[in-house]
């Protein structure tokens, strides 16, 4: 009986070793899952994940945790649907309840061109085995009775893309579950350890330096720092096509359960869902200027709330409890940047996650680990290489990821 309540530490406090096989900068879902799959799938366990704040203190602890695979491009759909499948098994894999609720995801269209965009996504999704279809206001109304599907609003709802396997997960649990997994397999997580420099010799990464003056040797260093990825890449002189923008969200007081779908409207720049505890989580697109300040603004709150009320007029008396922001590493094509860079050995990128990267934690971790272990770039992440900007082969997901995260 006592054993049942025995406290278990999810991760330990370690002294930094002078040498690791791999150092991962950034202990969000991406950095942690890389370390986890390095150990689990490839038996590379001499790995340290360093973070300048606490575990999940970046966007992995600030996002609204929507998981979906209904993207627009073939490359994107392949990639995100592998992640969705990994998420479906992840509670079991990590032996940790991640509260993944596949409640279904609705992307609304309020204009003809938006309806066309949904058709295109539905067809690409179906062709690649992802469950998505276009539905009309009568069916939307049955799924979400509280939604105003009348022609009263300025932009009435015309159609929706219904993606049944989409849903939400408990983001902190994902971070903790992976962190515990890393430690159980022999890796180390080091919160409050900031990397301030990366050493390079003869075009080969040789290690990192921390804010406490430690010098750590490692032939492989991974940049998994999302909003800060430019600052880390600059340490080795690698240019990135990234601009850091804040993204905000808010949450209301709890209500009786009335909404069991994630509802997104790109036309109205808003998304809304109800958590298992009854609160409404609402968000929007990025702030309209670049910044490394993650404070929130009244303008964004007003915009989120006004648009949410156009969708759900019945919510006008509901109070907002909290509002917050995170720093998103936006790329020109709304796709990530994954893999090695030309001319510098041992430096691996897992960045460009913008507003949509939480859902991709498992697949990037698994595939970046494979890249590090086998020294070959897996096909599924090859389209996202940094050199695509030089080759003019962008993977444009803006239509499927600007407001839907």
């Amino acid at each position: 009986m006592r054993a049942l309540f025995r406290k278990e530490k999810m991760w330990q406090r370690h002294k930094l070793k002078p040498r690791y096989d791999v150092v991962v900068i950034g202990a969000g879902v991406h950095g942690l899952s890389i370390a986890y799959y390095l150990a689990k799938n490839h038996e590379i366990t001499n790995v340290a994940v360093l973070d300048k704040v606490y575990l999940g203190g970046g966007n992995s602890g600030r996002n609204t945790a929507i998981i979906r695979a209904n993207y627009m491009t073939v490359e994107g759909v392949h990639f995100y649907s592998e992640s969705l499948k990994l998420y479906e098994e992840l509670s079991k894999e990590l032996n940790f309840n991640l509260l993944f609720s596949q409640i279904g995801h609705l992307s609304l269209a309020h204009t003809d061109s938006a309806v066309n965009g949904l058709w295109r996504r539905a067809e690409v999704n179906k062709a690649l085995g992802v469950n998505s279809r276009v539905i009309w206001p009568d069916e939307i109304k049955r799924m979400v009775p509280a939604l105003d599907t009348s022609d009263r609003p300025r932009y009435p709802v015309k159609a929706a893309l219904y993606h049944a396997p989409g849903g939400v997960i408990r983001h902190d649990a994902v971070v903790w579950g992976y962190a515990r997994g890393v430690e159980r397999h022999g890796g180390e997580v080091h919160p409050r350890t900031e990397v301030i420099a990366i050493d390079v010799k003869d075009h080969q990464v040789t290690g990192v330096r921390t804010d406490k003056g430690e010098v750590i040797r490692a032939d492989c260093v991974v940049n998994a720092t999302s909003g800060y990825c430019t600052t880390v890449s600059k340490m080795v002189g690698v240019d990135l096509p990234v601009v850091t923008h804040p993204l905000q969200a808010c949450v209301t007081e709890p209500l009786k359960p009335f909404l069991d779908k994630v509802v997104v409207s790109a036309n109205l720049h808003v998304y809304v869902y109800q958590t298992d505890r009854g609160e409404l989580v609402m968000g929007s697109e990025i702030d309209p200027y670049s910044s490394y300040s993650q404070g929130s603004t009244l303008e964004t709150l007003e915009s989120i709330v006004a648009h949410a009320l156009e969708l759900f007029p019945g919510l006008r008396h509901v109070r907002v409890l909290r509002q917050w922001g995170g720093l998103c590493d936006m790329t020109p094509d709304y796709s990530p940047i994954l893999g090695e860079v030309d001319g510098l050995k041992g430096f691996v990128l897992d960045v460009g996650w913008g507003t949509y990267g939480f859902k991709a934690g498992p697949v990037s971790g698994k595939r970046i680990a494979e890249l590090i272990a086998t020294k070959r770039t897996p096909d599924i992440i090859r389209p996202f290489r940094l050199s695509r900007f030089r080759e003019d082969r962008l993977v444009s997901e803006k239509g499927a990821a600007a407001v839907s995260h």
Partner: protein, 87 residues
Amino acid sequence: MGFLLECPNCGKRDVYEFRFGGEAHRRPRVNSSSEEWMKYVYMRENVAGVQQEWWFHRLGCHKWFLAIRDTRDNSVMRTFWMGEELV
């Protein structure tokens, strides 16, 4: 975090009156290499610190101007017309 921005024409206004035009960087010459053009089009300094950047007064005089702003706390040091200071 929101802030005020001083349009050189209209004075101090809420940042939401303006459209952000990105960091100011030099346009390559026409005969520059495609590598230089690629950098110009895609690559960004994205500094966590002081940067020079473009703004457009969309709800005001409809003029473009430049600002020097610290991206860490959004404090604005100066705003001015193009040509008044080196880009």
